[in-house]
Amino acid sequence: MNLNQAKSPKKLPVNSGFNKVRKNFLKNWQLYAFLLPALSYFIIFHYIPMYGVQIAFKNFIANKGIWGSPWIGFDHFTRFFDSYYFWRLIKNTLILSLYQLLLFPLPIILALSLNELKNGAFKKWAQTLTYAPHFISVVVVVGMIVIFLDPINGLVNQLIVLFGGEQIRFLDSPKWFRHIFVWSGVWQSLGWGSIIYLAALAGVNPELHEAAEIDGASRMQRILHINIPSILPTIVVLFILNIGSFMSVGFEKVLLMQNSLNLETSDVIQTYVYQAGLLEGQYGFAAAIGLFDSLINIALLITFNYVARKTSNNSLW
């Protein structure tokens, strides 16, 4: 009796909702068919592998497989939190991420400046020049860094010595690591990152500029009061997306630049995961750290999305 009573009021809306969905689906089935490849891609390559995350809570034994291995609860997590390296990893990861995040406005500034260029040929040339480093692979970039910063034969050190300075062992010193890492990243991605802002700027209504010009607005004023507000939604969305990968610093590059002397600042969560997982074969432990890392990222993403929605009405969802 009770059961039926509880069911009946809910049943109707559910059913009608489903019918609506069904009708809509039948009518537009071609559109859904287009969605299918992308959907199955995500299911197969991004959702199915997720079942492997459980090894973070298991003592993984290879020949028993993931399902067959015994559960051990949060042991891997506690081991990580108790580890001597825990705070150092967190600190290094956070500092590197923050450092990179602080430079978030650089591509915007570049886009705004490029946008002001009136000489078409020069503008194209400048754009191409700033994009170019994006196409160099990380390995090559690190190779270039190593060659340029070599303490004896490197270009940079030779210049320093030429001007009477002392050779600096850039790559062997913990205090230089962050700067080299972040600024070489800026060099590589600045132009590429500005593309999307340039596109947004191209969409700014020219009438606004004309009106402002008639009212006597200077160039700077037009940038501040027309261009920036117009691309603000793009900026906010990209910023939130960036936050979503806050804790994932460019792993390959860190690893390539790492050596036993700069570990103090270059040891980050992701290189630690690589080391524990792939090099030492402790998959459960590595999965636990990776999961912890992802959870922080998700939490940050949701928080910032919420803040952005409340404050500026621009958000991912």
Partner: protein, 535 residues
């Protein structure tokens, strides 16, 4: 309902994928087909069987082992058809771990340098099969060696009584190979400076200092590097003996015994170790050691050597590496005497060089055949084939034993001997599960200069060299974490103390950190392993 129809294909794909990754658990019986298998003599099997081998490949060997003279020949002899899946030494560690975790195992891991802890772990889990009985029954050659050298057998056996692998053995009589890389010093620069070959750490310092301050290669620049190598670890193999550090050999990077009390000690916190670091710090900060020793790679090292920059070095035979012209000037460096009179040479390895270079997985349907296949190379005949190739094709018998043909030592294509040999053999280079003796070995440790160098160092070699210790399953669990953390911290701090990034006033803090990282537990486990080893 239509919804289900759309989902169905996606679901079935999912299930299919899951099914593919989940199977292959059938063949667990370790049984031999008695009709096909021959207990002795060749071929090993009458009808061809196939094996799938995961092989670590060093850069110096042929790119495709499926097409190498001795392996082809051996296949004809044995009827064992092997598919070699070579993995370059560079990514070996990760590829091996992935293979072990994925469940798609090969029949054999060959030259894959599996760490002792992993042999234990996967042996316990049943991924690697115990070989005791198989070796006893089907490996007469290895059995003979193990009988002859009980220490090797002891080192190879795990606390549970099992042997899981065919080892790489360096003949205990082949000292030159046990030492491997040796210290070399530039005789013509010594002569120019009017100095004698340094015998003590102070004399070495004086020589290095003089090299730094004199333009000995005469190019008008002070570009000489007094002491270099490809890593700091190698340089320390030369220096540490003077301080009595690491006095149980290269394979133990954290423990040895206290020379006075004879007790097991964690040497990176010993006073002698600190003294050594102070000395190294002096050398490094005064520019007497290659300044980018922590990031140098072998090609860069060789390029510098070719420019005649090195006053002394610790690596393999200079004649082979730098060429006759530059290499001939180097003579072996002495074992050094430290400030308190200690004089020993500790850069030496145990004859049980590697334990993880041949393991058979539970997927292998022919373990007995596989064991026989491997055992042949431990025989005299097999070793000759492995190291020298085929008579008439690569070597000829002379009154002084087998000698490589001229076409190999003096390649018509202008290749080095190692490059030429790669067409026929899978040696030199790599961690092969064989017994290496000086009879057939073609590597540089067998060169005349190296053998002479060995004579100089031999009187000061440490008398007891430990093989890697083995642990019980329970110990192993803690050990892998403790050793990884401690090892990482010690390496990092060693570099910092030597380069001066961390001052020695932080020494006590360093020791305390090590204690906090679980030193006591680590030492308790090592003590247990040590006691087992002594029995």
């Amino acid at each position: 309902m239509k919804f289900n129809k759309v989902l169905f294909p996606a679901l079935s794909v999912m299930l299919l994928l899951a099914a593919c990754s989940g199977k292959d658990k059938e063949n667990n019986e370790v049984e031999t087909d008695s009709k096909n298998f021959n207990e002795s003599g060749m071929p090993i099997v009458n009808e061809t069987i196939k094996l799938d081998i995961f092989a670590g490949k060093s850069a110096t060997t042929a790119d495709d082992w499926n097409n190498v003279l001795i392996l082809d020949e051996y296949e004809k002899m044995t009827n064992v058809d092997i598919t070699w899946n070579q993995v370059p030494a560079d990514g070996l560690q990760e590829k091996r771990n992935l293979a072990l975790a994925s469940g798609t195992l090969p029949d054999v891991f060959y030259a894959a340098t599996i760490p002792v802890a992993d042999i234990q772990k996967y042996g316990q889990q049943g991924t690697f099969i115990p070989l005791n009985d198989l070796i006893e029954k089907h490996a007469p050659n290895l059995s003979k060696i193990l009988e002859e050298y009980p220490d090797i057998k002891k080192g190879l056996t795990f606390p549970d009584g099992n042997i899981y692998s065919f080892p790489t053995i360096y003949s205990p009589e082949f000292q030159s190979l046990l030492i491997g890389a040796k210290p070399w010093i530039k005789q013509d620069w010594l002569d120019q400076l009017g100095m004698k070959n340094p015998e003590t750490t102070d004399e070495l310092y004086a020589y290095l200092k003089a090299v730094k301050e004199t333009d000995l290669n005469g190019n008008g620049k002070h570009d000489e590097v007094p002491l270099s190598s490809v890593s700091m670890t190698r340089i320390l193999h030369w220096i540490s003996g003077a301080y009595g550090i690491q006095n149980k050999g290269q394979l133990h990077t954290l423990i040895d015994t206290d020379l006075k009390s004879g007790e097991l000690r964690f040497f990176p916190i010993a006073d002698e170790y600190k003294e050594m670091l102070v000395y190294m710090n002096k050398l490094y900060t005064e520019g007497l050691i290659e300044q980018n020793i922590y990031s140098i790679d072998v090609p860069q090292y060789l390029a510098n050597a070719a420019e005649e920059l090195y006053g002394s070095t610790q690596f393999y035979n200079p004649i082979e590496l730098f060429g006759e012209d530059i290499g001939k000037d180097y003579v072996v460096g002495n074992a050094l005497e430290g400030p308190d009179g200690t004089k020993m040479y500790t850069g030496v390895t145990s004859p049980l060089r590697g334990m993880g270079n041949f393991v058979i997985t539970d997927k292998n349907k022919f373990p007995a055949e596989t064991v026989r296949w491997m055992d042949y190379f431990f025989s005299d005949e097999g070793a000759l084939m492995f190291f020298m190739g085929i008579e008439g094709e690569t070597y000829e018998q002379t009154a002084n034993g087998p000698v490589l043909l001229d076409k190999i030592t003096d390649s018509p294509d202008g290749l080095t001997m190692t490059q030429e040999l790669a067409k026929y053999l899978i040696n030199p280079g790599g961690n092969h599960p064989v017994m290496v003796t000086d009879d057939y070995f073609t590597g540089s440790e067998n060169a005349a200069t190296d053998k002479e160098a060995t004579k100089v160092l031999e009187p000061y070699l440490i008398d007891e060299v430990w093989p890697s210790f083995t642990y019980t399953a329970k110990e192993n669990d803690n050990m892998s974490i403790l050793a990884a953390d401690l090892g990482k911290y010690v390496t990092e701090m060693q570099a910092k103390f030597i380069t001066g990034d961390t001052s020695f006033s932080k020494w006590d803090e360093y020791v305390k950190t090590i204690e906090k990282m679980g030193l006591e537990e680590y030492m308790k486990i090592e003590q247990g392993a040590y006691e087992r080893y002594q029995k």
